[in-house]
């Protein structure tokens, strides 16, 4: 494996990890919003 291959693979792994973590953060945000909204509906009623 050459330097170039190694760097390319490492960049690929880093991008995949970033996308996965960003996706998890977005998912937790969306879940929190849904839970808050549901609780708010219960409180109003």
């Amino acid at each position: 494996m050459t330097d170039k291959d190694f760097m390319r693979r490492r960049r690929g792994r880093s991008i995949a990890l970033f996308l996965a973590l960003a996706g998890v953060a977005l998912l937790f945000y969306a879940m929190a919003m849904v839970k808050f909204a549901t609780q708010a509906v219960h409180i109003v009623h």
């Binding site: 494996m1 330097d3 291959d5 693979r9 995949a16 998890v24 879940m31 919003m33 849904v34």
Partner: protein, 315 residues
Amino acid sequence: MSATTSIAGLPSSTAGDWLQLLKPRVLVLVVYTAVAGLAMAPDPLHPVLAFAAILAITVAAGAAGALNMWFDRDIDAVMSRTARRPIPAGRIGPGEAFAFGVVLAVASVMVMGLATNLMAASWLALSILFYVLVYTVWLKRRTAQNIVIGGAAGAFPPIIGWVAATGHLALLPVLMFAIVFVWTPPHFWSLALYASGDYARAGVPMLPVVSGARVTRANILAYTVLLAATSVAPWLLGLTGPVYGVVALALGVRFMWHAARVWRDQADASGRSRRNDAAARAAFRFSILYLFVLFGALVADRLVFHSAGLHVWVG
């Protein structure tokens, strides 16, 4: 810095290798049956939470697959079908794969618990533990009934999908579990018939290795008849409409036809197929189509005849 001296010894995994650890082809079936369980549930679930639940089930199944590959790395290296997997091929270290699997397993159960309910998270944790401890560690290398009992692990997703939406268990998801459970032996044994050399080399006591091809063919037929009977149970018990009933009957007859072809396959004195296991290969391919169409019909039937039961969350 020289490429050959400083970098050659470092792990050369790609993002695709890590994805391969999750057994993506198996995940398709897991997601499909989990979505079916979720769709059949009478209680609505917000789309965001439903997405989180399906994602959690998918990641949990992937984590179980990664832990399976970690534990089975020695036999994977021996079998031609699995020798190119990331661990035996040396692209990912065993310790890394184990950590990856454990982190994903814990995270998936946590997300399921936060998104839906503790009951669903518990079922999800049970499915991971069952696949890793009961099937992979305990049964796979000890008994020819490994995939019969271990098949339960792959049958959990419809139950988890249902419980994620409702918080409790009911008869229909149990029947969906039973269908996948009974479907697993003829599905895997069809594959094992033409991959038995691989399993024998690795010392895995699959039924064709332990009892021979003839016994395996008879068992495939027996389980397929049982599957055909189990698949119509939701209809006979009034839990589904005629669309599902007709499709289940037709698929059952077709699968039994395939199983009968496997059973009657021309074999030599040792029971090995003279036709390169063409019937077993066809039965294996059909078994995948069978489950997709059957569960598709289950959901379609609910949409057509029991639309009141299939809720779209409207806030």
